[in-house]
């Protein structure tokens, strides 16, 4: 039985002990008949007063979770369900049945972002969607017709859990062209990269395992790891990506189970992991035997310079798994992505995927397969690079023109986002109000960090708004920032920022 006390926290110590033991009992971790440590011993091992432990045990007793008898100590009681006394019985008590994971309030972030984007009149820099006016619909339609007429009813039957084999073959050839050499058997099709992240937690993480992430990082990944009960070891990132030397020193004391990294055009910072750091990261991972989950979501969307080899391409030790998606380069609504990894890893993912949803939709796989094979996808990517380059430049130019003193930003070489620093004298609450009045939305930085610190940056997306909206949106945003400035530097107030409502 492990108990962790936050002695600086606002919650009383006896309450913390009570809550943790209660959770362990309700989750079954402490089974019926389990004897809790004697009060004195627990108090000593936690370095606290014995009365604190007594108070916690009393609380558990009053809830009927434990029973204390002289000579037997404090023992976990059987979980009892009241026996019905009338034919009518009682109404069902759902919280008794749900697991903690189910009861945890949802993070409303994604939902709010999607909703804010669809508000009429709002210019949204908040979400990470491809340009809605440039989706290659007619190409999809042609490929879809061809699939249904050529393949017929089989296109509507089940596909293997790992994915439609010709699709895996085509992806393998397509990746090989990019330098990622993998066989079709080293690829599994997932129902969107969110599923890929989720499956990775299922395959790798026991509760309490440590996952290395970047700070900042993609909040969806962090949420997936948290739900799996993982501890997050956040490595600060700068303009060259994760500061791998910091990771190196931490690995002397930590044994992470997984390293999650976005080497190319990271979400949210747009940073690219430098060539040196890629090599260093791989050396570290190989030395300590830690698998790397390389999230390659934005790698294709490069607007400048030559591509750096992916971690997968550089990997000599067989420890890199690369997760890709068609959501940013084609269509998010199809929910199709892929994972390229050693075969023994693919096998585990397939076992987990089989019980999650059997397989990704069959016709969608066949249509995208065709679009890759006939060159539609590459042509579309080329088009979109130039569209997004223009949009990025428009946003940067607007920032150059309208920025308030103290704002910072870089021109990202690729991806979807400008990571924009705020002046230190911005009143964050006021900024939220002003931005809502101005009808412009953005992603504040707090959800991209493990401890949800006060907002220092905004993630501004330039792929989704129309080109004609970019300047107007930045004008509104900078107006909102300007009118949120105060005369002095804002002192961070952690508690408040953690609950700050999202625009």
């Amino acid at each position: 039985m492990n108990i962790f006390l936050d002695k600086t926290g606002s919650s009383p110590l006896y309450r913390q002990i009570h809550n943790q033991i209660r959770d362990m009992i309700l989750s079954g971790e402490l089974p019926t008949g389990y004897r809790l440590p004697p009060e004195r011993r627990l108090a000593e091992s936690l370095g606290i007063a014995r009365t604190t432990v007594i108070n916690a045990y009393e609380e558990l007793k009053s809830e009927g979770l434990v029973d204390a008898r002289v000579g037997r100590g404090t023992v976990v009681s059987p979980l009892t369900r009241p026996i019905p006394d009338a034919e009518e019985g009682r109404s069902i008590s759902w919280p008794h049945y749900f697991r903690d994971e189910g009861l945890r309030p949802p993070d409303p972030l994604v939902r709010n972002l999607l909703e804010s984007a669809s508000q009429p009149g709002v210019i949204s820099f908040a979400i990470g969607l491809p340009s809605p006016t440039d989706l290659p619909l007619s190409l999809y339609e042609a490929a879809s017709r061809a699939v249904l007429s050529e393949i017929g009813p089989l296109a509507l039957l089940h596909a293997p859990t790992e994915g439609h084999m010709p699709f895996r073959e085509t992806i393998s050839r397509w990746l090989t062209k990019r330098g990622i050499i993998c066989t079709p058997e080293e690829i599994i099709i997932v129902s969107g990269s969110q599923q890929g992240l989720h499956l990775s937690t299922r395959v790798f993480l026991n509760p309490g395992d440590t996952v290395v992430i970047e700070a900042p990082t993609y909040f969806g990944a962090m949420e997936a790891f948290r739900r799996a009960g993982a501890r997050l070891l956040a490595i600060p990132a700068d303009d060259d990506g994760m500061q791998v030397d910091i990771l190196a020193s931490l690995l002397r004391h930590h044994r992470p189970k997984l390293i999650y990294v976005q080497p190319s055009f990271q979400n949210p910072s747009g940073a690219v992991l430098s060539a040196d750091r890629r090599q260093h990261l791989l050396r570290l991972a190989a030395r300590y035997g830690i698998p790397i989950l390389e999230d390659d979501t934005y790698a294709e969307l490069r607007y400048e310079g030559a591509p750096l080899p992916s971690l997968k391409e550089l990997d000599q030790a067989g420890l890199v798994m690369t997760l890709g998606t068609f959501s940013k380069i084609l269509f998010p609504g199809l929910r199709l992505g892929w994972l390229a990894a050693p075969r023994q890893v693919i096998r585990q993912f397939a076992l987990a995927k089989q019980i999650e949803d059997l397989h990704a939709g069959t016709p969608g796989q066949m249509v995208i397969e065709r679009m890759i094979r006939n060159g539609d996808l590459d042509a579309h990517i080329a088009t979109m690079r130039s569209v997004y380059r223009t949009q990025r430049d428009r946003m940067i130019a607007a920032l150059d023109r309208h920025a308030v003193d103290g704002m910072t930003w870089h021109r990202p070489d690729g991806g979807f986002y400008v990571w924009c620093g705020l002046p230190r004298t911005v009143d964050r609450t006021r900024l939220n109000d002003r931005a809502a009045e101005e009808r412009v939305s953005f992603l504040p930085s707090y959800p991209c960090f493990t401890d949800q610190p006060p907002v220092t940056h905004l993630r501004l997306n330039f792929s989704y708004p129309g080109i004609e909206q970019l300047e107007e949106g930045i004008t509104r945003l900078t107006r909102a920032i300007r009118s949120s400035l105060t005369s002095r530097e804002q002192v961070p107030e952690r508690a408040q920022s953690a609950t700050a409502p999202l625009v």
Binding site: S91, E101, L135, T161, Q195, N206, G333, I355, D357
Partner: protein
């Protein structure tokens, strides 16, 4: 390098079915193994036209992100359809679209099951559910089941003595794998009992509408006044499986919990596949399609039952399902269906040995036969070969037991 996977992965093994289905990809095999609908009944032409129309008229919506709960018009159609077919009173926001009903099972495990929690289930039960729930380390309580369903006395006994029963899992209509169907009275009794104890029922209903004989049996969800039934439905058996469109129907407060988990699992199901299903429901009469499906499946069931009656040796019994896709065969105790399968595969016939359908206490002398996927002449030929192997094996094992008896020391 050696990779350190999560402890839970150790319980996940490649299933028998998965291995068998790989073999049956070979078209020459007469397969009674899968649970596939007859592909010749798929409405390919209309779907191609609808797909084109959706892309033309609503393409930007169809290929964008959409709500985790599902495409709103489809949720409404499902609620309406359930209310009309099953006499439930569901609102659209009591429907969550899932990526196949396998996801419904997985999310159910995630929502309810901590290690050591108990599930009451039929014996045998659905393999996909067993595998899904096993990932959460539950205890299975197999409830004695007769031709009318779970024995209510046994259910009550379990509820009374086991405080950690999290839900009752059942496929009351044309069950996979047994083909059995609960009586209406038994369903009412279970709903009443679950109400008294305040225990949820997971009513898995993929085959309910595939009824060939008599009246389509009603759903427990329609009998439930306390909101304790959570039902799983799917278009896989009544429309097309490859689109992966299925749903969970339950009270709002429960759906809202499922949504959280759905968001973490895959954000949402394919928007396009949902819209395609929605458009088909809006422009075509699914009930009319079902008439044709029922007719074809009934003929095939009849063919299989007749062939079994003609061919199988004495001592072999089988169910005669009123609907669905499967029937269940019980052989004499000494025959292991896995051994039989090996012999049958050599003769080009596949089926699923029954042992995998028991969470524990495997009954090795059982098998599941699917009749929906093969034309009648193949069914007859397949049963002939299967029965011939059965007879041969029964002779062999009889010979062995005689021989071992003779050589025993006096």
């Amino acid at each position: 390098m050696s990779i350190d996977f999560a402890a839970r992965m150790q319980v996940l093994k490649a299933s028998d079915i998965r291995e068998i289905l790989k073999i049956t990809q070979n078209r020459d095999i007469i397969s009674f193994a899968g649970g596939l609908p007859a592909p010749e009944l798929f409405p390919i032409e209309p779907l191609a036209d609808l797909a084109a129309r959706i892309l033309r008229e609503q393409g930007t919506i169809a290929l964008q992100y959409s709500p985790s709960e599902g495409f709103p018009p489809l949720r409404k159609k499902i609620a309406d359809r359930m209310n009309s077919v099953w006499k439930t009173s569901l609102a659209p926001d009591e429907i969550l679209i899932t990526t196949g009903s396998q996801q419904g099972l997985d999310l159910t495990g995630k929502l309810f099951l901590d290690e050591g929690d108990a599930i009451l289930c039929e014996s045998p039960s659905y393999l996909g559910a067993i595998m899904s729930f096993n990932a959460f380390g539950p205890r299975w309580v197999e409830v004695p089941t007769d031709d009318d369903g779970m024995q209510i006395g046994a259910v009550e006994e379990a509820l009374r003595t086991d405080a950690r029963v999290k839900f009752i899992y059942t496929i009351p209509s044309f069950q996979n794998p047994s083909g059995r169907t609960w009586s209406m009275e038994r369903r009412r009794e279970l709903v009443r009992l679950a109400g008294r104890y305040g225990v949820p029922i997971i009513e898995d209903n993929p085959y309910g509408e595939l009824c060939f004989d008599g009246e389509t049996p009603g759903m427990m969800q329609a009998m439930d006044e306390k909101g304790l039934v959570i039902s799983l439905g799917t278009f896989s058996k009544i429309f097309c499986p490859g689109l992966r469109v299925a749903w969970i129907a339950a009270k709002r407060e429960i759906i809202s919990k499922y949504v959280i988990l759905k968001q973490g699992a895959d954000l949402h199901s394919s928007t396009f596949d949902q819209m395609l299903t929605d458009a088909y429901l809006a422009t075509h009469d699914l009930d009319q399609d079902l008439v044709a499906k029922r007719r074809v499946y009934k003929e095939r069931r009849n063919a299989m039952v007749r062939a079994l009656e003609r061919e199988v040796p004495p001592g072999v019994t089988f169910t005669r399902p009123r609907g669905g896709l499967f029937l269940w065969v019980v052989m004499p105790r000494e025959i292991d269906a896995r051994d039989l399968l090996h012999r049958c595969l050599e003769r080009g016939v596949a089926f699923v040995p029954g042992a995998t359908f028991f969470p524990f206490a495997e009954k090795k002398n059982t098998m599941r036969l699917n009749y929906s996927n093969m034309p009648i002449d193949r069914i007859e030929e397949g049963v002939r070969r299967l029965a011939a192997e059965m007879k041969a094996m029964m002779l062999d094992t009889a010979g062995v037991s005689v021989a071992s008896h003779l050589t025993q020391p006096a």
